[in-house]
Amino acid sequence: MSAETSKKPAKVGMIETFLSGAKKGWGIAINTIMPAMVLGYVLVQVFNVTGVMDVLGNICGPIMGVFGLPGEAITVLISAFFAKAAGAATAFNLYQTGVITAAQATICVMPSMLMGTLVGHYARIVLVTETNKKYTLLMFLIPLFDAALGMILMRLILTAMGLM
């Protein structure tokens, strides 16, 4: 890939390079992040209006407690599953409404990243690379494991730093 780009005949200046990247950034913000944000915020609204949020909070309290999070934070994991940005949006929403602290929102970054956009990226990565089908289940479990590990490590680090 790098060989192809370096062979480009016309010289492209730094300004043009920056602008073309910035244009991509606008595309990501509007086409990728915005739909995910709308999804995340609507999910939270649905959970709030129906009262599911309180139920989830009570049921998932003990599990999420392992990661230093309140039960309501399970909604971050649910929306992250659909899209990484939706996980982040949900975490920020919970922070705004005072359900989680800034440190807890930082913990939420780990699952939002590590188990984020699982379905979409299954096609884009696992299927594109034609990974051996016998490991399909393993491929789905590893992100969940990574996310749990990430949350625990982040909790330990933040606790050690005295931020929690």
Partner: protein
């Protein structure tokens, strides 16, 4: 991509001085190291990404920016996404410039020799590995090509994919998708990216163990 070109890339990865400079600047910006510089070295805050992204003005004495406060649902999500656009636009422009300066080659130079101990993968995976840090699609196609060209085995591909798939594109996705939480996060972006990569490595090494065990079993059955 032909087998030869991949091998060439493996043997001589050339990193320009610009590439190393880009790597250093990028690390400074993402580390958040200069975020709170004070006194005579205050000007160094120019090396902090969040300082450059800046902040929105507030409306009246409410302390709230154009998003206001108390919003909910899709409309609030829309406004919030809009407020993230400037940071996303700037960061992506910056990364494009760093890439042009050769930051990917610098990363590749650093990572290629340690792929074997880290993931049990040959150095020829270097380019795909580095690409996977900032995007999903190119790395996925490169990995498929590595297998098709016989440079990695089926098991190595499985291990590699188990590294790429969780938390895909940690650098690019941390900047763009996590933009909502970054301003309030109590940890800078750089360390968080490192932690994500560390977890990815641990997960991939578990797959590495599982795959190795399967291999042993198969060998025993064959005997």
């Amino acid at each position: 991509m032909a087998v030869e070109t991949v091998q060439n890339e493996k043997e001589k990865i050339k990193v320009s001085p610009q590439g190393w400079l880009a790597l250093v600047i990028m690390l400074c910006m993402f580390s958040g190291f200069f975020a709170n510089m004070e006194g005579p070295l205050q000007f160094l805050r120019v090396l902090d990404l969040n300082t450059l992204i800046g902040s929105f003005g507030t409306i009246g004495d409410t302390g709230a920016n154009f998003m206001g406060s108390g919003g909910a649902g899709a409309r609030d999500g829309f406004m919030f996404a809009l407020s993230l656009a400037p940071g996303c636009i700037f960061s992506m422009g910056l990364i494009e410039v760093f890439s042009k300066m050769g930051v990917m080659e610098a990363f590749q130079k650093v990572f290629t020799p340690i792929l074997r101990p880290l993931l049990g993968l040959p150095g020829s995976c270097g380019l795909a590995f580095v690409n996977s840090l900032n995007g999903s699609d190119i790395a996925a196609v490169l990995t498929k090509e590595l297998y098709d060209n016989g440079q990695i085995t089926d098991d190595e591909r499985t291990i590699f994919v188990s590294f790429m798939y969780p938390g895909s594109a940690p650098i690019g996705n941390m900047i763009s998708t996590q933009a909502a939480v970054l301003p309030i996060a109590v940890m800078a972006m750089g360390p968080m990216i490192l932690l994500v990569i560390f977890c990815k490595l641990v997960g991939a090494n578990i797959v590495r163990l599982i795959v190795m065990r399967g291999k042993k079993k198969n060998a025993e059955v064959a005997k």
